[in-house]
């Protein structure tokens, strides 16, 4: 059995199982028996939905399962605050605390959402509490919607709790660091308590591009606030423990790159339409088009090749990108950074070239800002930058045009002749700038984490209309696990989609596979904003992205699921006896 045959068998098996499930759902939704009669009764709907919502919320807050999850959140976040260390610096500690506290809270809330939504109607049906509700003048759609909103509201309450605790923990970490720093400045730096407090306050006034040593903007700010020379401040700082000196720089990074809400402008990919057309026509004229490939497949393939070619920069090659950002501002909080993430087709091995040691997993590159023909051209000396991790450096104001245009040049000068690849469609090269305080970013991250919960709750409530609690929760939990590991699944699906078929495989098979993969990709996804990683990088989700995700996952996908749930529930005989 070759791989393609195996895939087709699995595909057929999955399709049959899917069709059986779909048939069961449709049978429930369009049962031959009569269903609920009457209109939607929108008048007074809010009050009745509100009643169901309140009761669901009360159950959530009073039931042991939900209160247990709330207690877990309440206990775990302080524990994370106490135990998070990261790389030992203040920045690492705060970032690790974010990851743990919000990541764990959102995970717990997802599990709670699955359990609570899946039991919302199924348990009431099983325990016959539903008799007392359905015999009242409330249309069934209002019961379903009330349950959904109740679960969502419970999530919202708990997510706010997690958010408040995360905010408190972060501020306490920062506050505790500055207090310790004050003490150390007094103890080791021989400053008076008043001077130490002023020096610490100066950290909030740091501005400009970070440099090392006495030229550091941190030293500049302290000099200005204490009225001392750079050498005097340098002498004070040198008396501090090594860890504290490192933390001074990390604290500045934390303040300007993490505890901030920043927008991101990715480098755009050029429009390849013309090139694609030319290549396609050329292949066609030369009669080199694959005979059993559709035009779409061929064009997709050409696009992919062109994209890879554009994103790959070989040895001694360079690229220049133009990015349109906001005009620079004068405020002390304003900062603009270049963020990039490279990858390499193979791992660079440590090599000695002259007096330079080229490190493993690093590439030697040159970056430059501005137009070389103008006076504001700012070339940076060649430097080694790690691959597969995000790098960030601040852009000085003089490197930005007054209208916000940034000309960015890159040169691959690594003599090991390894290509540097920027995954531009994935946002591997972008400019970030401050748009607001960290609290804004935190609120947006919480909302971004809340959207998948809404979607999950819709799936859970829908499952509870026709499945028992154990079966429904198992299915929705599986959906959650798959959607959480969507990166892995997406890769597998992409491989399946692009799997090169043997010669006998026809075009139809490829199209069916493509359709299946894209449908699964759409159906299994419950959110794509990745709020925690964004928060770690001080990257605000942004209202437009939140709005788009709300549309996609709450207003469209969840609504579709809820419509199905209502159709099933309106048709269902709630006191039916299966014999």
């Amino acid at each position: 059995m070759n791989e393609n045959t195996f895939f087709m068998i699995m595909f057929a098996f999955g399709s049959v199982m899917g069709l059986i499930t779909l048939g069961y759902v449709i049978r429930q939704a369009f049962s031959r028996q009569s269903g609920e009669v009457g209109g939607w009764e929108l008048r007074g709907a809010g009050r009745r939905i509100g009643a169901v919502l309140r009761t669901t919320l009360a159950e959530g807050l009073r039931a042991k399962v939900a209160s247990g999850f709330a207690a877990l959140i309440l206990i775990s976040i302080p524990v994370f605050w106490l135990t998070s260390e990261g790389d030992g610096t203040i920045k690492g500690k705060v970032q690790m605390f974010f990851t743990y506290s919000l990541g764990f809270s959102l995970f717990l809330l997802a599990i709670l959402t699955v359990l609570f939504s899946c039991r919302s109607l199924s348990v009431e049906i099983a325990s016959r509490q539903i008799y007392g509700i359905v015999s009242k003048p409330i249309p069934r759609w209002q019961i379903v919607v009330g349950k959904w909103l109740g679960v969502i509201l419970l999530d919202l309450v708990l997510i706010i709790l997690a958010g408040v605790m995360t905010w408190t923990g972060t501020r306490m970490t920062v506050s505790s660091f500055t207090k310790d720093l004050e003490k150390e400045l007094v103890t080791y730096g021989n400053l008076t308590p008043g001077q130490a407090a002023t020096a610490v306050a100066a950290l909030a006034e740091v501005r400009g591009v970070g440099r090392k040593g006495l030229e550091s903007p941190v030293v500049t700010a302290i000099c200005e606030m204490l009225g001392k020379t750079r050498e005097e401040v340098g002498d004070i700082l040198l008396r501090l423990p090594e860890a504290t000196r490192v933390n001074l720089r990390r604290f500045d990074e934390l303040r300007r790159q993490v505890l901030v809400a920043r927008a991101m402008i990715p480098v755009e990919v050029p429009d390849f339409t013309k090139e694609i057309e030319e290549i396609y026509q050329s292949l066609k004229n030369d009669e080199r088009l694959p005979t059993d490939w559709s035009e779409k497949r061929i064009r997709d393939s050409i696009t992919r090749e062109l994209m890879l070619s554009y994103c790959s920069i070989g040895y001694a090659e360079g690229r220049t990108w133009e990015i349109k950002g906001p005009p620079p501002e004068e405020g002390k909080d304003w900062v603009m950074s270049l963020r990039f993430k490279m990858r390499a087709p193979r791992q660079p091995i440590a090599t000695q070239v002259g007096d330079i040691t080229l490190e493993t997993d690093q590439l030697l590159c040159e970056w430059a800002l501005g137009d070389p023909r103008k006076s504001n051209f700012l070339p940076a000396p060649p430097g080694q930058y790690p691959i597969n991790t995000a790098n960030e450096f601040e852009i000085p104001q003089q490197g930005i045009e007054k209208d916000g245009t940034i000309l960015l040049s890159f040169m691959n000068v690594d003599p090991r002749r390894i290509e540097a690849i920027f995954d531009l469609p994935g946002g591997a090269l972008s400019v970030m700038y401050r748009i607001g305080p960290w609290e804004l970013g935190l609120v947006q991250a919480l909302l971004a984490g809340f959207i998948p919960l809404c979607c999950l709750a819709a799936f859970g409530v829908c499952a509870s209309t026709f499945l028992s609690f154990p079966v429904g929760s198992l299915i929705v939990l599986t959906l959650f696990v798959i959607s959480s590991s969507m990166g892995f699944v997406a890769e597998a699906l992409a491989v399946a989609k692009e799997y090169a078929p043997p010669e006998h495989d026809r075009e139809l098979a490829w199209e069916v596979r493509r359709l299946t993969v894209e449908t699964m990709d759409w159906a299994l996804s419950i959110g794509d904003l990745d709020p925690i990683n964004r928060l770690m990088e001080g990257h605000a989700v942004g209202w437009p992205a939140l709005w788009r995700a709300t549309w996609k996952y709450v207003l469209i996908k969840s609504s579709l699921v809820m419509i199905l749930a209502v159709m099933i529930f309106r048709r269902r005989e709630l006191a039916a006896v299966i014999v």
Partner: protein
């Protein structure tokens, strides 16, 4: 029973059939089989039958919890699955399926919201109903901690929150103590007097007999009998006369009069009190002495908002006691006899009254400290004893044929 002419039935079933299926859609159990039934406005209707006879299935179809396999069910002239008719229905299920984490006030408030009652009205009704069912002291406790009887009481209260025109009670007295049982009956009677239509489903015959105007008896999913309770139970060939403190000589005179009228005396005995009455008396006494209890207390009449224009909501226990005293203090000839005696001439009864009255007055009275509460309707136990005692009297032991008996 209320007049039914030219009235639209509140509940109407025409050839109503329900078949339960297995997972694969194959017909397996015929739960209700071509049921024809009508319930008229203001009627207290009893649906009787042993377990599995189709009573609850019928009720569930009338509530839209089940859909008929064939036939038609209408409530207020509309399909029962129509949400619009449900605002006029109150339903007390066979068990109180309540939210364990809500207390009594929250439970009633929740159901009140479903009826779109405004806040003031919800509070008023909630307060009255909780007082009515005797849960005022336990009202703030979560319903999950209630005993079964207390849960039943709150189940009754939620069924009345909307002042329903049609009250559907599925086994309403299950799990209730005699006080609660009596209260449920009292509520049913009071609501019946206030013009409410009540469908009572039970297999406790005494309960149904006490309160229902008409009953249908089901078996195997089919209706086996239908008719007015009085008509179904009445033994038109037997007359019962109740007198106070009569001696053997007087009894002999009665026998003689009866023989002269061409009939015979089947049985002479002293009637006993019902255990229910004794129980109520003991509990009432304890409540008067304000003994502590963690359970339900005695309820307070019937809530005023329940269609009760100008109807007083007296204490249930008080009303029961008053009812007992009223009967005790009434003259011996008080018109309490539930059955008339069509076969015995009125003049014979009148003659008996005259003959018996004189010795009864002459004799010293030996009334108990607390007067027994005589049944307000024919005591079924007495009827049964009469039936068994009169077995030797041949065909007199056979009850008269019900006017509308099937199968």
């Amino acid at each position: 029973m209320s007049s039914t002419e030219s009235r639209v039935p509140i509940v109407e079933c025409v050839a109503l059939t329900k078949v339960f299926q297995d997972f694969w859609g194959r017909d397996k159990v015929l739960a209700v089989d071509r049921l024809d039934m009508e319930i008229q406005p203001g009627e207290v209707f009893g649906l009787l039958g042993p377990n599995g006879s189709g009573k609850s299935t019928t009720i569930k179809m009338l509530l839209g919890l089940l859909y008929p396999t064939s036939g038609v069910a209408r409530v207020f002239g509309r399909p029962p699955t129509d949400t619009a008719v449900k605002s006029r229905i109150g339903f007390m299920p066979e068990e109180s399926y309540l939210y364990r984490y809500l207390n009594a006030y929250e439970t009633l408030d929740y159901y009140g919201r479903l009826f779109k009652l405004d806040r003031v009205e919800r509070r008023r009704r909630t307060e009255q109903l909780i007082e009515m069912v005797g849960l005022k002291r336990a009202g703030k406790r979560s319903v999950g901690t209630y005993s079964k009887g207390m849960a039943r009481r709150i189940g009754l209260a939620q069924a009345l929150i909307n002042d329903p025109d049609l009250l559907i009670l599925d086994e309403p007295t299950t799990g209730l103590d005699p006080v609660g049982t009596r209260q449920i009956k009292d509520v049913i009677e009071t609501l019946g007097q206030r013009g409410k239509t009540i469908l009572l489903c039970s297999h406790l015959l005494a309960d149904v007999e006490d309160v229902c105007d008409r009953v249908a008896i089901m078996y195997g999913g089919r209706r086996q009998a239908l008719g007015a309770v009085a008509e179904l139970l009445e033994r038109r060939d037997v007359t019962e006369i109740t007198v106070r403190d009569i001696d053997d000589a007087a009894i002999e005179k009665v026998r003689k009069v009866v023989r002269e009228a061409g009939s015979e005396v089947i049985d002479v005995h002293h009637p006993t009190d019902r255990l229910e009455a004794l129980f109520l008396r003991v509990v009432t006494q304890a409540q008067r002495e304000k003994l502590q209890t963690s359970g339900a207390e005695s309820g307070r009449g019937v809530s005023e908002f329940l269609g009760g224009k100008g109807v007083e909501s007296a204490s249930l226990i008080d009303s029961l006691v008053q009812a007992g005293q009223h009967v005790v203090e009434a003259p011996a000839g008080a018109p309490e006899a539930p059955h008339e005696a069509p076969r015995v001439q009125a003049d014979v009864v009148e003659k008996l009254r005259k003959d018996v009255a004189a010795p009864a007055v002459a004799q010293p009275r030996t009334e108990p400290v607390e007067a027994p509460i005589p049944p307000r309707k024919p005591d079924k136990a007495v009827l049964d004893r009469l039936l068994s005692g009169g077995a030797a009297a041949g065909d007199e032991s056979k009850p008269a044929s019900p006017p509308n008996t099937e199968g």
